[in-house]
Symmetry: C2
Subunit: 479 residues, 2 copies
């Protein structure tokens, strides 16, 4: 509820209107929410990590239409406590090891507050010059931290842009690929997934790419776009950036490197080699909201040739025309993305970079990798378990091994082993003490242990392993 | 900077690590930002509404790479004050009348804080059931407030989803249109803008639509998708929803109604007629971040047939498989949008609806329309000015009339009149006291006066008109 006192000027002395942006009421309610969230983080380990509610739980707890009259914020927040928190899967819990964690931090949160408080819509330069200029500056900062070739930086003729998600960031590129050659629009757009195998640690082999390109050409299809991945979701596999780019570019194919999660690690010199050869690519993206402590959402995309994006995505309606744009001295980020409206996301990234500094950010990422190594060590010490694929970053893919399942079930048939591990994961998550998810590669069901929340420490990793061992022990010992 | 004390558990007693999500440090810094923003709103009228900086102003004020070491939040916020605020165009200023305002409010801001604090990634139900279920519930609430046919509500077999921007919300639909008929993928995708004229208040005429469809069919193109608009950006023109839908559906064309800004007004019974006939459309969207007090971003999309979206957009990688999804009892919103990751935007809309209630929200919208009417009245009383197109909602399109320009320049040639009004707008915005933007329809340059920020009152409208009159007076009186 806003203040009823400090309302609008009134024309005819009628009843004072509510002012939903009254500064003192903003202050009062804002402090209340800060305390609510600080307490939430303090108590976060008390909640089951994965929500244990049943489908449809909420509709019986809430009315079926909006209230006619205002309700005080205290009432609403009591409902958040009673009805929403039980339905939350706690992504910020230190015991969260599922999917890829979404790292958050104080600076990322504050940056979002400032962004949301100013609430500017920075579609072009003039609509809020600071939003555009800060974005260009921090994207160059971040690019330098990643040692991207200068051709990806504004200072080298390229440039970076913040978007919501990798899907948004990647989508324009195939469209771009079609630009310039009008005939290309006339072919049905097709996407192919090129198989990878365990023998190559699930990295895409350049020869497989070339064969796929040649097969397409043979049937009159024109390959436009390659999306290679550094750190796949299933197993953090890494495609060889340099050699794939060499192949693709011979055929005029736009090369995008999607390093949504693992890209952040490349700020550490010891992990930078995973994107060696990036100078051969056309675009590169990572999600700062995955492993760079920047609250959701914040996807970073760098391109060598911004004009390619602009040609494909630019809109120039009369109502947006302005002198700054026509001077060609400014960036209008609306032309670098699908949507028109855009948030001041650079504020978040800027606060993260300044509040922690490069050295701490490197060390935080290293600490996650070290914790994953520690977990890998624990798995390795227990003969009933095995690590399924090599660990590259901060994720361990493991399972109870066929031999251990065989000892118990007198069969190590792959289906039975998979079923055992599937049940193990359900049992682990059912405790509410940790949350992990799974992957399947070449028919092998693996439990993914992804380290990455900001609050996770060695204590939590050790506890998670205890839970896994306890659950496995109970299942293997079952009569 | 985070706390150095309350850090991680340590393996070997090495130096304590920074904890970037320490609850007490979160509390301290959070309160600091709340006070910063409360003071910002209190002082917002002191700043020039449109930023007066020159292109490139920021790069000389900031270092060209990220700091190696942490900086205190107080230092960073001092830089926000000194270097960012001068580059901000103040969208929340009560003197902001440009583009379409982005209304913000306390509840929208708090909702964003809670969303960002939980920082859950609700791509499917299991990843945070409350995020999905609250979204479905508030979209039904909002749909009922708009008196959408039940076929657009979950309770009637349809449903709503929150996205970032209208562009995102609209994009999937043409793709959907292509689904089901594989041949349709083989035609080049083309978009046509069908002309409208002043005689029909710039609304699209059903006959024009039918002619366009027939021309396409005559050359072998298959019309897939119509985007009709309720409240265009140039002049808030309204396309006749019902009669256009009737035409489009005869040809199997998917009809989307884009009511990005004006849709919110339809919660008032007296404005609901602008979407009469909506039962003939397939999908409907509005931006709650435009005129529904919900901080950026929050686009609401309702569809009658969610399966059409799901068929076009669904992805089902192994790592996202889960029992809830396979039970078919839950909504997985990732299948309703382009991106995978998604924020808990429903929290914002829920807080807005509960904190103000339907009656206050209706009255706030009415107050904006009334203020626009008041401005229209002021324009009407000054013979040197004219209202260019009929006012439908809270925007007035006006200019200095050809006769007034003619009296001064001895020519009322349309080019000279346009140039005069363009200069007038530059002069008005150059004062820093207000910000308005422009549109051009049928060659006529208009100044758009769009009422809609939360803090705007009659005093600000009156002051804006004074600024316009003063600037025009100076220009008309020029020797």
């Amino acid at each position: 509820m806003g203040s009823l006192e400090a309302g609008h000027d009134l024309k005819n002395g009628s009843t004072p209107m509510l002012n939903p942006l009254d500064p003192e009421e903003f202050r009062r309610q804002g402090h209340l929410i800060i305390d609510f969230l600080a307490d939430y983080y303090k108590n976060i380990e008390k909640y089951p990590v994965r929500s244990q509610v049943e489908p449809g739980y909420l509709s019986s707890r809430l009315p079926d239409s909006a209230p006619l009259d205002p309700e005080p914020i205290e009432t609403v927040m009591q409902d958040v406590e009673n009805h929403i928190i039980p339905g939350i899967t706690h992504w910020q819990s230190p015991n969260y090891f599922a999917y890829f964690p979404a790292t958050a931090c104080i600076a990322g949160f504050l940056g979002e507050m400032v962004c949301t408080g100013f609430n500017v819509v920075g579609f072009n330069w003039v609509s809020s010059p600071a939003a555009t200029e800060l974005e260009s500056i921090v994207m160059d900062w971040f690019g330098k931290m990643l040692q991207l070739p200068t051709s990806f930086l504004f200072s080298g003729g390229g440039g970076g842009v913040l978007q919501g998600t990798s899907c948004e960031a990647i989508l324009p590129n195939p469209f771009r690929g079609a630009e310039g050659s009008p005939n290309r629009w006339n072919q049905p757009r097709k996407f192919s997934a090129i198989p990878t195998t365990k023998d190559n640690a699930f990295g895409l082999i350049p020869d497989s790419l070339e064969s796929a390109i040649l097969s397409d050409l043979a049937v009159g299809l024109i390959p436009l776009f390659l999306c290679a991945t550094v750190g796949t979701t299933s197993s953090t596999a890494v495609d060889p950036v340099g050699s794939l780019s060499n192949v693709a570019r011979r055929y005029g194919v736009w090369v995008h490197i999607d390093a949504a999660q693992a890209g952040s690690a490349c700020i550490c010199p010891e992990f930078r080699h995973f994107i060696d050869g990036i100078e051969g690519a056309d675009s590169f993206s990572l999600n700062a909201h995955k492993w760079f402590f920047t609250n959701l959402d914040c996807c970073c995309l760098w391109v060598k040739d911004p004009n390619a994006l602009i040609k494909a995505l630019s809109t120039n309606p009369e109502f947006l025309r302005n002198k700054a744009t026509e001077s060609n001295q400014v960036v209008d980020y609306k032309d670098w993305q699908i949507g028109l409206s855009r948030r001041f996301r650079a504020m978040k990234l800027w606060l993260v970079l300044r509040s922690y500094g490069v050295v701490n950010l490197q060390n935080l990422i290293r600490s996650h990798v070290d914790m994953a190594k520690h977990f890998e060590g624990l798995v390795g010490m227990d003969k009933r378990f095995e690590v399924v694929v090599p660990r590259n970053f901060a994720m361990v893919c493991f399972r109870v091994s066929p031999s251990a399942v065989g000892d118990r079930f007198e069969s190590c048939d792959e289906k039975i082993v998979n079923e055992f591990n599937r049940n193990l994961l359900a049992s682990v998550n059912g405790t509410g003490r940790v949350y992990m998810t799974h992957g399947v590669l070449e028919g092998v069901y693996m439990i993914r242990f992804a380290v990455g929340t900001t609050l996770t420490g060695y204590r939590h990793v050790g506890m998670a392993w205890d839970v896994v061992q306890d659950c496995a022990h109970a299942m293997l010992a079952k009569s």
